[in-house]
Symmetry: C2
Subunit: 460 residues, 2 copies
């Protein structure tokens, strides 16, 4: 039995212990966007630092202006080095009443077909995924006494809340962190049977607007019509952002957005993808976006504008005839190709300001910005990783586009000059960012085995 | 000293005891729209029934399908009978952090000019106002041994939450409740020195829409653009409701809305009203409503559409890239002249349905409906009440229009065939429905005296 086979056997033999470790980290309420959970975020970082140290990494949870960043090194191997990135923070859990159980008390559920899922906030995004890599390292260390390649692990605690402190941290520690290739486990497979490496990712601009009209809430009977209602102002702005054909109306928004390369478009059109199934799985049937675009284009290669949150006035039970003082909205733009996040942000702010009445105010809050990114799929490291995934899953791994944004990917490219292999084992029904998030037990088990293989392949 | 003078002297002498009684009722958390406060509403009704019984009324808190209705009779006098209506329920108190103190722990504040205000939720709307009438009755009973005219007092507990049970109650008890004139103390003075009787009131239609798209919250990176975002659907509906000139766009909305009678318009234009002061007092400067209409027209004689609440997606601190499953809005229409509330509701629902994508659902919740109303200012009772107010305040009382809606007024007119004298002592800076609601101590004191005079005048 060669070393890799022994490592894979070890992973299988110790699968229950690995699951117990994952449950321990899933119990930590590391919601980064809510200041109430700052201590939990720190506890989660400390947990990971201690766990990685127990494997033999030189590990610490390093303070930032926000939540700590965990850095761990094991550079005893020779050969091309790798930097693995994951994030230990999770999304908020509201609305809590839609969860079937405590989001932070993980449990195994058996589905009607006998397959099992791990259910908890962060099961897939990203605790379950990042632990597949950590467990692969653990197995290599235990079986072979060393990792196949030199590895640095970096775990962020603010991926779900704007990631304000990561860019400065990467810059300040560039020499320590730079490696020959980046590895990230925060993406999906093509489907439950088919692995994939995501080689195109959209960028993101997150913005929040808070519109203030009167200096207090008003009675709509006394002031209605005469006093500006900020709900109307915000609704008008949100409605104006997209035209009747689903196109974003910001001037210059589509600058730097070419039509898709015909060869790639042809490949995508041939993918076994059924838009009716994709939408039907979440109770929808009619694609809502740009007219004349396929659903894969909409979600992989076209820029979008989505209102992620809006609110103003009385939202409780019953009715209150109020004109609120303030109304607000959170808006995200997904960017593709060469769209410039800063130009998009400025165009958005000018667009909003043009719609604010003279006696109202608008405040802007920035929630992250990152460019779109593409990686060279012809590069040997990508080919080796693809083969390793194909070997593990018994199906050829796809190179695919991705709709989400992983801002760190762009930073690794621009700040540290690294390409990144995005190999993840999530599935589209994982309900990440939603109530009842889950991660397939098979994703966890075969994910650990996949990384064990990829590490061996990178050393070859 | 005639009886009225003795009653007025008694009110002045007992002003502190009256204030203590008002404080007792202000401490009761009778928020009718929130089921969590149902027991408090019942306690408030019981408090009033006991208080009215202590004056000598035959009083009880009568159960309804919702909160109780208090009915009290003292019909020992002869002459034209009166039915006084007030409401003991109050608006919710959110956002609580904008209150300077506990909304249910009333206190007296002294302003820089030495004048005093009563600060608490309900201080003006309507507990302070309704107690001016109760205290006037108490003084008459104590001084003269009897009321000047036969009086029935009816106190509702659902005025701030749709008033679903009042129409049936009025109908079922019409013979018991009918009187020659209605009296209500739930309106404002013209200004702090000038009393007024409101003789035109707008009607109201309250509607809530809940739009559901996907059957769960989605990640905007994976589903953005392709999946319908209900925030966009609701924002589009809200934006479409008013055109660029501030007119409501519902088909048929302005049916039954004539231009104001030129003579009345001339009188209104001559009123000492400064729109800049009206808006400036709440931090605004630009009238937002229909182009070409004065602010008094906008708020007294023109129909309006206001979004009183809207919400969807993530509204907490930070950012969450979610496409929510649901988004919602609460919308009120103020009606004038002969607008039909049911036609407006149907037009609104058709308007909304036309904007719901094929794979989304919309649910409608009804929050009350009432027609606009006008009373005959030439009627002797109105002239007597006006003179009584003029006598108390030393300034001629105005007949004015009103922007708010008091649905019971219409019910008294249509169900019981009664005209209603709306004489109130609120002021535009009372912040009703807002944090830090107040009622001027002078309004309370001279309000009691005003009602004592009106009762004497109605008997003359």
């Amino acid at each position: 039995m060669d070393k890799l086979d022994a490592v894979l056997a070890r992973i299988d033999a110790n699968a229950d212990a690995a699951l117990e470790r994952l449950f321990a980290v899933l119990r930590i309420r590391s919601i980064s966007t809510d200041p109430a959970f700052a201590a939990d975020c720190k506890a989660c970082a400390d947990w990971h630092a201690a766990d990685l140290a127990s494997i033999g990494f030189e590990a610490s949870a390093r303070p930032t202006a926000g939540h700590p960043i965990v850095v761990a090194h094991d550079r005893s191997a020779t050969g091309p080095s790798a930097l693995f990135y994951g994030h230990y923070d999770v999304q908020p859990v509201d609305p809590l009443d839609l969860w079937d159980h405590d989001p932070f008390e993980p449990k195994i559920e058996t589905r009607p077909d006998g397959s099992k899922v791990i259910r908890a906030r962060g099961a897939a995004d990203d605790k379950g995924q990042l632990m597949t890599f950590v467990e692969a390292c653990r197995a290599w260390k235990e079986v072979a006494g060393a990792l196949p390649v030199p590895i640095t692990i970096l775990l962020e605690g603010e991926e779900e809340s704007g990631g304000a402190n990561l860019p400065g941290f990467l810059e300040a520690n560039a020499a320590e962190l730079k490696a020959d290739i980046g590895l990230i486990c925060d993406t999906n497979m093509w489907d439950a049977a088919t692995p994939a490496i995501t080689t195109m990712l959209r960028g993101l601009v997150g913005e929040e607007i808070i519109v203030t009209a009167a200096d207090r809430d008003l009675h709509s009977g006394f002031y209605g019509s005469a006093a500006t209602n900020p709900n109307h102002v915000v609704a008008r702005i949100l409605a104006d952002l997209r035209d009747a054909d689903g196109r974003v109306t910001l001037p210059g928004f589509y600058d730097g957005v070419p039509e898709l390369d015909p060869a790639l478009k042809k490949q995508w059109d041939a993918l076994p993808f059924d838009p009716k199934h994709f939408l039907g799985a979440v109770g929808l049937s009619v694609p809502a976006g740009e007219k004349g675009r396929s659903v894969l284009e909409m979600t992989w290669s076209r820029p979008t504008c989505e209102v992620n949150g809006m609110g103003g006035g009385y939202q409780g039970d019953g009715f209150k005839t109020v004109i609120p003082s303030k109304a607000s909205a959170k808006i995200s733009f997904r960017l593709v190709f060469d769209q410039d996040p800063h130009k998009v942000r400025e165009a958005f702010r000018a667009f909003v300001r043009a719609r604010i009445p003279a006696d109202c105010k608008v405040e802007f809050l920035e929630h992250g910005a990152g460019r779109a990114i593409r990686f060279p799929i012809e590069d040997p490291a990508f080919q080796k990783a693809r083969q390793a995934l194909t070997d593990e899953w018994g199906r050829e791994a796809f190179f695919i586009g991705g709709g989400g944004s992983i801002p760190v990917t762009h930073m690794l490219k621009t700040s540290l000059g690294m390409d990144v292999i995005l190999a993840g084992f999530g599935l589209e029904d994982d309900r990440i960012h939603s109530p009842n998030e889950k991660y397939d037990l098979q994703s966890f088990r075969k994910g650990m085995r996949s990384w064990a293989r990829i590490l061996a392949a990178l050393a070859s």
